[in-house]
């Protein structure tokens, strides 16, 4: 007879595919954080005075929060973060011109090739426009010209500050204020680059827009800032992917993403997160402390977040939606997989402020090894929000008997006309299911991958095609070695 735990242990031991690092000369800000760091970053990016002021305000707020205790409500022990021992800015030395791939450092192109990012002309034809963030700097934005014909603005955040300062100034921090939480404050102070998208009125963006983030330089944090604005009646689907090299020390990733959907607009935001999760003993890995929030500002607007989270030592994020406009819709689809000593505390917050607003939350948590996975969600219904509806479904799948899954679905309803539904299930991968697949010639590892992919299908099918296939492969890879 096979001992289950033995099987789990031997199989858990699979490696991180993207753990290489690239030998590129980088400009790195001196280690540590003070006003000068903020000025240095702002200066590097030639920013206008108002933005520097905004950063400095955020910096002072951060310093105040950093004096106090770190948040303590999450379902994991907050690691000691020494904000003075990391570097807040790193840029590849040979800064390429934004439009020309020829001038990109070949090492960098080789890195992206390894990551499978469609940077080459051929692959661009595949129809995904990509902005690539390498450490702190946006390296290339493909397809920009073509999008511009439609009036779509898709560029790095840094470039947007130069080219479209009014839009940036109007919306930056309007959904996630610098004072929101300590990591949002830090991001606002030191955010380096990120992506900017503006879709004009009535335009349906004809291709997926995509950003790929990679942390390469040692001992740096990555604090990107993404701002997406969908003007009235427009539509955009945006994808975000990420990787980081394998290093023994933990690295902080503290992004902020803000989405603004005006009247009748729709934003679909998808993430496949596979930052380095650390080794089997919990050494190294990314701390993924991210604030993502969208607002349906106008009536009949729609925002949906889809996330597949397989990486990071700790994931701490709650992509949220403020349903301000009447008849607006918010959706949150999530698959979070943790194994070994990974921890994820993730979910969503939906604020129903407008009447007849609807939301749907589908969360699939998967936990293997001794990992801890927590769904934490809030559904808030405001006093004046009449006839709102929410449906929440939280499913948990356990692999082995040493891991944990927890769900904390909070509800705050101030309006009695609200219809709120909640369903939750917990299951284990059944030995009978594995044996059934074994009997058809499929080994344990592939059997688990198949079952997990099936379990996550409801969420995976929300992803755009190209990404869904990648995500399925990623899930299979991350399930390597976790049989129950």
């Amino acid at each position: 007879m096979k001992d289950n735990n033995e099987v789990i242990d031997t199989l858990l031991d699979s490696s991180y595919e993207f753990g290489f690092s690239t030998d590129i000369e980088t400009d790195v800000a001196p280690v540590g954080l003070d006003e000068n760091t903020v000025r240095f970053i702002s200066d590097q990016k030639d920013e206008p005075e108002w933005l520097l002021e905004w950063r400095l305000t955020a910096y002072h707020h951060f310093m105040k929060l950093a004096q106090k205790d770190m948040p303590g409500w999450q379902h994991f022990d907050m690691p000691d973060l020494d904000f003075q021992s990391m570097s807040y800015y790193a840029a590849p030395k040979s800064k390429p011109l934004l439009d020309s791939l020829d001038q990109v450092d070949p090492e960098l192109l080789a890195t992206f090739a390894k990551l499978g990012i469609p940077l080459t002309e051929q692959k661009m034809l595949a129809g995904v426009a990509v902005d690539v963030i390498f450490d702190s700097v946006s390296v290339t934005t493909t397809y920009k010209a073509k999008l511009k014909e439609l009036g779509i603005l898709f560029c790095s955040f840094g470039e947007a500050v130069q080219e479209y300062p009014e839009l940036v100034r109007k919306y930056l921090g309007s959904v996630v204020p610098a004072t929101d939480n300590i990591f949002a404050a830090l991001n606002s102070a030191v955010c380096s680059d990120g992506s900017f998208v503006y879709i004009p009125k009535g335009v349906r963006c004809p291709m997926e827009l995509s950003t790929y983030f990679r942390i390469n330089a040692i001992n740096t944090g990555q604090f990107e800032r993404t701002l997406i604005i969908a003007d009235e009646g427009s539509y955009v689907s945006y994808l975000e992917g990420c990787t980081a090299p394998q290093r023994d020390e933990n690295q902080l990733h503290g992004a902020v993403v803000e989405l603004i959907a005006l009247k009748d607009a729709e934003i679909k935001y998808s993430t496949v997160q596979n930052w380095y999760p650390g080794d089997a003993d919990g050494k190294g890995g990314i701390y993924n402390f991210v604030t993502k929030r969208g607002i349906c500002k106008g009536s009949n607007a729609k925002i949906s977040w889809t996330q597949v989270e397989t990486g990071s030592a700790i994931t701490w994020k709650y992509p949220s939606i403020i349903l301000k406009g009447d008849y607006s819709t918010g959706e949150f689809y999530s698959v979070a997989v943790v194994k070994n000593k990974q921890m994820a505390d993730t979910g969503t917050k939906i604020y129903h402020l407008g009447s007849h607003t609807k939301s749907r939350i589908i969360s699939k948590g998967i936990s293997a090894g001794v990992a801890q996975n927590t769904y934490r969600g809030l559904v808030h219904v405001g006093k004046n929000a009449k006839h709102t509806r929410n449906f929440t479904q939280c499913d948990s799948l356990l692999i082995g008997d040493k891991c944990g899954l927890h769900t904390y679905p909070y509800i705050e309803s101030r309006n009695s006309t609200a219809q709120l539904e909640h369903e939750a299930t917990t299951s284990r991968i059944g030995e009978d299911q594995i044996f059934y697949l074994n009997q058809r010639g499929i080994d344990n590892e592939k059997a688990v991958a198949l079952i997990v992919n099936g379990y996550a299908m409801e969420v995976l099918k929300q992803l755009p095609m190209e990404f869904a296939v990648e995500a399925q492969k990623l899930l299979a890879i991350s399930m390597e070695g976790s049989v129950g």
């Binding site: 059934y436 074994n438 009997q439 010639g441 198949l450 099936g454």
Partner: protein, 254 residues
């Protein structure tokens, strides 16, 4: 093809198979009958390599190789197929995707490239017709929400797709309506060849009218207590198992 010698197997320390002997040659169809709890499904599970069962004595030789210790997926790849008495449901995994994985894993075991998509789809279509398995069912999640009979038919559809050397059908007939029974039997009959063999576990003589067995065995208390030809099935239908039970008691104590 298959030789089972004095097989003893137990689960959770309880001995279920107590000296089972069986010889199956290529081209043959064997029926195994026997009262509830006599060890029919256990035999099937042990042949397929279900990890919960422990072989405490005897051996199973399949195509010249001792199966003891061989992983279930490798047994499957070597050509053993079990149509389960209670097929499981797997949510979100489409039947087609599952079959593609199975076909290609078995090919990989034999050092073959994955089956080209077109060939695979043609095969699906052909086998679907053979067992009259609807497109709708083929596309749905593996057995999810299938009726009892639909699940059984899916087992036979998979059997047709994988074309094993030795197929074990564990009460595939129970739960099938009369038409489905005929369809399943037709499927099995058209898959029969001089190179493959079938072990058909059933409680009812009716299935054996459609799929004519070369041998009929009665399993009781973990061993085969009587073997004969298809007439034995008729006799059992008439007389039940009691006469055998008393006979076998003598046999066991002897």
């Amino acid at each position: 093809m298959l030789t089972i010698n004095n097989l003893h197997a137990s689960i959770d320390g309880k001995e279920i198979l107590r000296g089972l002997n069986l010889q199956v040659n290529p081209g043959e169809v064997h029926a195994i009958m026997g009262p509830n709890g006599s060890g029919k499904s256990t035999t099937a599970s042990v042949l397929a390599g279900k990890p919960e069962y422990e072989i405490t004595g005897g051996e199973i030789i399949f195509q010249g190789e001792n199966l003891n210790g061989m992983a279930p997926e490798n047994r499957a790849a070597e050509g053993i197929f079990l149509a389960f008495q209670y097929p499981v449901e797997i949510k979100g995994v489409s039947n087609i995707n599952f079959l593609k994985t199975a076909v290609n894993e078995i090919r990989a075991y034999h050092g073959l490239e994955p089956m080209p998509a077109k060939e695979f789809l043609n095969r699906i279509k052909e086998k679907q017709e053979l067992v009259q398995f609807s497109n709708d069912l083929a596309k749905r999640s593996l057995n999810e929400g299938f009726s009892g009979g639909e699940k059984k038919r899916n087992e036979i559809f998979q059997l047709a797709m994988l074309e094993p050397k030795l197929a074990i059908l564990d009460e595939t007939d129970s739960g099938l309506d009369i038409d489905a029974l005929r369809i399943v039997a037709h499927g099995v009959n058209s898959l029969r060849s001089k190179d493959n063999a079938f072990i058909i576990i059933t409680h009812y003589q009716r299935l054996l009218e459609y799929i004519e067995p070369d041998f009929v065995h009665v399993l009781y208390n973990g061993r085969i207590v009587k073997s004969g030809t298809k007439e034995l099935a008729l006799e059992l239908e008439e007389k039940g198992y009691d006469w055998l039970k008393s006979e076998s008691r003598d046999y066991i104590t002897a």
